[in-house]
Amino acid sequence: MSTALADLLAGHPAPLEGLSKQRQAAAELWRRAGMPSVRQEGWRYTSLQRFQELSYRLAGANDRDILPETLAVLHGRSLVRTGNAQVILLNGQFLADHFDGAALPDGVTVQSLTQLSKQEPQQLPHHVSVGEGAADPDFSHLNLATLNDGLLVEVSEGVVIDRPLHILVLSVGDTGLMTTPRISVRLQQGARLSLIEEYLGADQGGGFTNAVTEIALERNAHLSHHRFIQGATAVDHIGSVVARQAEGSHLESDSIVLGACFCRVDIDVALQEREARCRLNGLFLGQGEDHIDHHTTIRHLASETRSEQLYWGVLDERSRGVFNGKVIVAESTRGIDAQQASNNLLLSAAAEIDAKPELQINADDVRCSHGATVGELDPDALFYLRSRGVAEEQARAMLIYAFAARVIDRIPLPELQDALAARLLGESTASLLPSEGVA
């Protein structure tokens, strides 16, 4: 059955025992708000006209089949080189056949929401919330209302996991397929995890990925979270990252978008207790007609909370980028530190960036800074490199990489740094990059 996106609620999502109340609430919220329009502030720069023109259907059990060849191709395109993904969500659904639970370190649990709903339905509402979010129409509501599976990742108290957990989120289907990957991550007190969340789409077909990642960090937990979207596909992407942080917890969250025809990412972090801190890094590369929109909201709800945001955009051809960074400082909080920077490189006259900080500060003891820059490649630097014998294309790549490296260098996984360098510079130039110990 195909239908307009706004009316998908009439579909028949999986039952997911234990979640019906939340799903009804989400459906109600989505229904009431309706499709976002550019007349709404939060969607001013991002038209959803494209969604009006297509019919959609929900991914179902039939969309859980994938040819081994297709899977191999997608694995080959993954930025993560060390072996295969440990967890695969295909069209929103957990692939149990490709998962080896025994290979996980002790103290980490990974299970599908479907499995959880069968075994402990009363647990589900603890991990999946409706999310009050912004007043805007919120696609996470549509995600929850139409959810057919998802993933829960949990790390037990005090457990520190060194090796990153790699979740590959695949969208493989026809143009009208809406998938609703949902990942809940909970780190108990003092736990530590590094998580790579990588979105890939098949080259053929298309579809719409409506993704939600829900993060709960208990006291002193530390999550290093790397969210990658690789384009070169026709899959539209609207994603939310919603995080709640307890006292002394630490979230590092990267959103890296390497070209995507249409992409919107909403990141909402609530620093709920003292000394919680977050650092958000963003890097997006647009070309062609790409549209890449990041909206962040940081809620400083308690004293001595800190946030830092760096969003770097590189836009070529007719691509368009949006960065809207909202910082909310609650009343009667003290010792708040909130930094935000958006730097952008426009490589063509037709490329465009809309960068907008939004500060709502209701307290006095606040250190808050924001800045946005828009520039182009330095023609003097380009000539300098070329006059030394570096070919123009390579010189441009080197300068673009130099710009992006400010964000890439902050990703604490060398393997991902190398993969990004190779993407930006091409393999041969990337191999020239200084490694430790040169000269």
Partner: protein, 250 residues
């Protein structure tokens, strides 16, 4: 090696070079002197291929090839090197990494294979010592935070690694104290040989005390109005430019 004939160049609609003629043979060092605004830097830039100037007439033939038709990187491949008056700071691009890309680019242009990492490293270590550049600067971003002297020394270091056939030194003495000037000049002199040629563009004589030229040319209002040997530079230092200009006008 290089033959410039009746070269005419406009910058922002103004004719800056109005028919420059110059012949440089292998192994020769030519100084181009002249008052401010005479077109010295434009000449350097147009030979290296910097955008922003329009050639309206004339030719520059370098080892049988029309230099003006080549991209900057192709000129580098042919063996042209420009030492900048103001070396550009490039944050995020490591010095050695740039140099490796440059050397490999030049070698690829000439159909030569890339140097191995070991060979390259040996070359770099060898040259950095010869030029007296601090080794710690090698792995820093290109020229970022370098002092004026370090920047110029870095230019000479790059030159020594890339081994050009023709090196153009654009006001290399500007912003240098006498010790730095001597050190840079020594680096340049060490690179002089019977096949490599130099164009030394300078406003002042003092650089030419240390890099002694075979020929000195006076550029004024876009033309070479007088040429001579190294003594001409001393005369210019003593008497200024006005008498040459007056003589040429007569």
């Amino acid at each position: 090696m290089l033959e410039i004939k009746d070269l005419r160049v406009n910058v922002a609609g103004n004719e800056i070079l109005r028919g420059v003629n110059l012949v440089i043979r292998p192994g020769e060092t030519h100084a181009i002197m002249g008052p401010n605004g005479s077109g010295k830097s434009t000449l350097s830039h147009v030979l290296a291929g910097r955008a922003g100037s329009a050639v309206t007439g004339g030719t520059a033939v370098f080892n049988g090839k029309s230099l003006l038709a080549l991209s900057p990187e192709e000129r580098a491949g042919e063996g042209v090197f420009l030492a900048f008056q103001y070396p550009v700071e490039i944050p995020g691009v490591n010095n050695v990494y740039m140099l490796k890309a440059a050397l490999n680019g030049i070698r690829a242009y000439r159909g030569e294979s890339e140097l191995s990492a070991v060979e390259f490293l040996k070359l770099v270590k060898d040259r950095v010592k010869a030029v007296g550049l601090q080794e710690s600067l090698l792995n820093r971003p290109v020229n970022e935070g370098f002092s004026g002297g370090e920047k110029k020394r870095n230019e000479v270091f790059q030159m020594s690694v890339l081994e050009p056939r023709l090196a153009i030194l654009d006001e290399t003495d500007s912003g240098l104290d006498i010790d730095a000037l001597k050190a840079v000049a020594e680096g340049v002199n060490a690179l002089r040989n019977e096949t490599r040629s130099f164009i030394v563009v300078t406003h002042y004589q003092r650089l030419l005390d240390h890099i002694v030229p075979d020929f000195v040319h006076v550029l004024s209002a876009g033309r070479i109005i007088k040429s001579g040997g190294k003594d001409l530079a001393l005369e210019l230092e003593a008497r200024g430019y006005d008498w040459v200009i007056a003589e040429a006008a007569a």
